[in-house]
């Protein structure tokens, strides 16, 4: 089975959700890694979870990007390992320069906490290989600063290079500014690096892995990473989850 390292910064609050989704729902191994560690240990994938690292002081993710563990995360990413930044994790990846662009306050200024629809634009990433092109996923967001920005040249390069992976759309998948909840450039909800192994996304797939929470579409994202690791030779057979431990 594959091992997911879930980095914990002071102020991260979606680390347990990510751990739960990976371990209890997908039956993989998961481990918390405190931000001050300088080793990831044996990890097949890294998750930078959501939350409010350092209270969002200065700028979201601006201080967490300098945490000791981030050197290791950068090395892991450079070596090709899958790195998934969710919400605040996405913001940390942007501040760290592991993904291009920046984040602004939501265009309508309000913190938005609701399910949104995302269209999968590319399926050749470890995060979307289980999806079909154009598939719409219903996944929740919860953020006040998810308004992605990149200058026109960067956006053109991202689009040309197929690095835009998820877009905010209408429920049927149509791209329409009315459904761009936070005003993100190009309605970009998630994008990857040029090597396609680092993904940042504002929505929370780890909160959409169980029907009881309103959607299981998040399994497409997390399950894709598990499948990608299995294809790469990491045994992904889940542990029996039958006798569930609370």
């Amino acid at each position: 089975m594959s091992t997911f390292a879930v980095v914990v910064f002071p102020g991260s609050n979606c680390d347990h959700d990510a751990y739960h989704a990976v371990k209890q729902v997908l039956g993989q191994e998961a481990r918390f890694v405190w931000h001050k560690e300088t080793r990831l240990g044996s990890a097949d994938a890294v998750i930078l979870p959501g939350g409010f690292s350092y209270g969002d002081y200065l700028r979201t993710g601006a201080i967490a990007r300098f945490s000791p563990i981030m050197g290791e995360v950068a090395r892991f990413a450079a070596a090709g390992g899958p790195v998934l930044g969710i919400c605040n994790g996405f913001q940390v990846l942007l501040e760290a320069g592991l993904l291009p662009g920046g984040m602004r306050r939501n265009s309508r200024l309000k913190f938005i906490c609701e399910h949104v629809h995302l269209r999968v634009e590319q399926t050749d990433t470890p995060f979307t290989r289980l999806a079909t092109a154009g598939q719409v996923l219903r996944i929740p967001i919860a953020h006040g600063e998810g308004n992605y920005y990149a200058d026109p040249e960067t956006v053109a390069a991202l689009e040309a290079n197929r690095q835009v992976i998820l877009r905010y759309t209408a429920p049927g998948g149509e791209q329409d500014e009315a459904w761009n909840v936070n005003g993100s450039t190009g309605a970009i909800a998630g994008l990857c690096n040029s090597a396609r192994n680092v993904l940042g996304m504002m929505p929370h797939p780890e909160r959409a892995c169980e029907a009881a929470l309103g959607s299981e579409d998040g399994r497409v994202i997390l399950g894709s990473v598990v499948a990608a690791l299995a294809a790469a030779g990491v045994d992904a057979a889940p542990r029996p989850v039958g006798a569930a431990q609370p």
Binding site: L58, G101, G102, G183
Partner: protein, 80 residues
């Protein structure tokens, strides 16, 4: 020595907070305030031999942490 850093959004970046403030001012009757852009202000108390060194240090710190070069630009002022 005291160095101050003003960090502002680049002109091309939409500033919804600034717009909201401008509208609030117009509601209060200050129609002659046409636009507002909100920024950040940092006061740095630095050990530096002279103003030039203080300015250079403040700029380095602004580049490294205080401003995000993707969406912000900054200005440094040094006292004395």
């Amino acid at each position: 020595m005291k160095a101050t850093v003003f960090v502002t959004l680049k002109p091309s970046i939409l500033d919804p907070q600034g717009k909201t403030i401008a509208e609030a001012l117009r509601t209060l009757g200050y129609d002659s305030v046409r636009d507002v852009r909100q920024g950040k202000y940092f006061e740095l108390d630095v050990d530096a031999a002279d103003a030039g060194q203080a300015r250079s240090l403040a700029a380095t710190v602004a580049d490294k942490l205080l401003a995000n070069p993707v969406i912000e630009s900054y200005r440094v002022d040094v006292e004395g």
